[in-house]
Symmetry: C2
Subunit: 341 residues, 2 copies
DNA sequence: TTGTAGGCGTTATCAA
DNA sequence: TTGATAACGCCTACAA
């Protein structure tokens, strides 16, 4: 049996009330008593039972995040960085982070939401990998569960969270490539239901438009955000009779796979073909050649999301309900340039 | 207010006892009642309050894992894969996974353990990145909290978990390199307190020994498991008057940084220098050139760890308390070979 | 400054 | 087959 507050109280011949208040820092307890209590509690290895506290306080001091894992054994550094950010910021508020994985829109995911949200296992949720039409956001809004998201859905009335300005990021990237002389630029995206694909594709199109280049449908391909998917799909693009001279990818992992495919066909990336990604994962700086990418501060974004969620949960006012972050174009050798970084 | 079991009972003019038992699948409740209850509960969106259930049952159906994050903004794909494995297997047992991050052996980490373990927030713990002398394992054993670990410490009396056979893996890798004609082989490790560094370094030494090569202390370097660290540290090795012709790295990220440094000095990896890693992260197959590595099935290991922990928590018997996994040598172009994969 | 007592929502024991 | 009732450990009005 673990030590409870009763044990501590009993040892000191005090009431549990006094012990409770001493430990919680109420000011209606004498300094001597407080000191005695905290020391004894420490010594006995007492820590308040979380379940009991939760039941009583009607809050869990826990937030939840479900990793949208499509395939078993996936491994996007984006998530380790994201989770590290969530965990660190949560810990800074003495909150815990509950994590699970579930394929998007699967029954597993729905069961999890039920268990966590209806069962009061979490006080709020973090959501990402948003779809244009996303049941999770609707569900959470309906249940009035505090939540923040990275990216927003179209149906969302009152969006609270952060979004990357993918559109303008891609526009900038496209302008850069056009400026380098590229006219045959391909887009390697992800599932078109994803908000990020939607935005980045739109940025791609706008970039073509601005340069008065007609869109070529054979230059639009979609993979699954993994290096493997990028590798496979890039092969198709590269086998075209008139292949592209540049490929912009929806994320870094896809770009890494794409580079691999290009190398394999004997192309020198950065000279024979330009390839760029999105995310700015740590690896991207160390690929060969280093990868041009639209860098977004994933760790900082995660922390900021938790800060926003904390405010929401505790009914604090939010200075900004919707934060827009412009990714930073890091030009490296994979697109031939050496302008910075 | 969320719907409670009372609401359901009230709506059906039944006692909460009956509702509880109907939902939990006891057989002393009539089929009609059960059907009625489950349907109504579903319709009302009832899910049992977790805190109350935990308090009553004295178990949380939750396991914990603390990511040993040394630096902010780290991002090792090892962890996303590991966490995905933990989450998936936990979910398969209807368990939840509580995650946090803390620098190893920091006060933050200790406070977390206190909150989770003493506070009964988790039923068991997963531990990895084991140090030769690891306070976490001692603490958990002392408190008799169920736990399993990836790797073991020296002080551990009764180790339950999985360990990679790093020693023999490195031995095999060294034999391969020697066989390729390498005599000047460097070791790029991590903190020597880590069990993985200890084992892999020992394997490196044994490999030298077997080939009757004297150890050269300038060929032993240590980084911090990141690409950045590998990059920095490799520069030192490569600037030696007589640099190594091969570098074996303690993990893939370090190897990626090392490759970067080599490229930067104009070396063609796989021809002018051989570089190998450990882990088998997905990226490793798509680096340029593809990275030779000792592949360990991280996702499967994570799942297996949770299975073992489940057995421990539920007092089931464990067929194997200590599992040893031999990593698989994947020879790719970064060491010049093309033998497989 | 300290103590008494009620209840958070469940599950389990016992009685009907 | 069902229902009343007592905990689980904690916090907090209220009383002393």
């Amino acid at each position: 049996m673990r030590t409870t507050i009763r044990d501590v109280a009993h040892r000191l011949n005090l009431s549990i009330t006094t012990v409770s208040r001493a430990l919680d820092g109420y000011d209606d307890v004498s300094e001597d008593t407080r000191k005695l209590v905290t020391e004894t509690a420490q010594e006995m290895g007492y820590a308040p039972n979380r379940a009991a506290r939760q039941l009583r306080r009607q809050r869990t001091d826990t937030i939840g995040y479900i990793i949208p894992a499509n395939s078993a054994g996936f491994a996007d550094p984006f998530f380790s960085e994201f989770i590290a950010g969530l965990g660190d910021e949560a810990a800074a508020h003495s909150y815990d982070l509950l994590v699970s994985t579930a394929p998007p829109a699967s029954p597993i995911e729905q069961a999890l939401y039920r268990r966590w949200v209806q069962g009061g296992k979490v006080d709020g949720m973090i959501v990402n990998r948003i779809c244009l039409d996303d049941w999770r956001l609707e569900h959470l809004a309906e249940q009035s569960v505090p939540h923040v998201s990275l990216e927003r859905s179209l149906s969302q009335l009152d969006f609270i969270g952060i979004e990357a300005d993918s559109y303008n990021g891609f526009l900038e990237l496209m302008a850069y490539l056009v400026n380098q002389g590229h006219r045959r630029i391909a887009y390697m995206g992800a599932s078109p239901e994803l908000k990020i694909d939607h935005d980045r594709y739109a940025g791609y199109q706008a970039g073509l438009d601005a340069a008065h280049i007609a869109e070529n449908s054979t230059f639009v391909a979609r993979a699954d955000l993994t290096p493997e998917g990028g590798y496979q799909t890039a092969q198709i693009l590269l086998m075209l009779a008139h292949p592209p001279t540049a490929i912009v990818c929806v994320n870094d992992l896809t770009a890494i796979g794409t580079m691999h495919a290009a190398h394999e066909r004997g192309l020198k990336v950065g000279r024979d073909i330009a390839i760029a990604g999105f995310d700015g994962i740590a690896d991207a700086a160390h690929t060969q050649p280093p990868l041009t990418t639209l860098d977004q501060p994933v760790y900082a974004i995660a922390r900021r999301l938790v800060m926003m969620l904390m405010a929401l949960i505790n009914n604090k006012s939010l200075e900004e309900r919707q934060v827009r972050i412009r990714p930073k174009l890091l030009i490296r050798e994979s697109t031939g340039g050496r302008m910075n970084n």
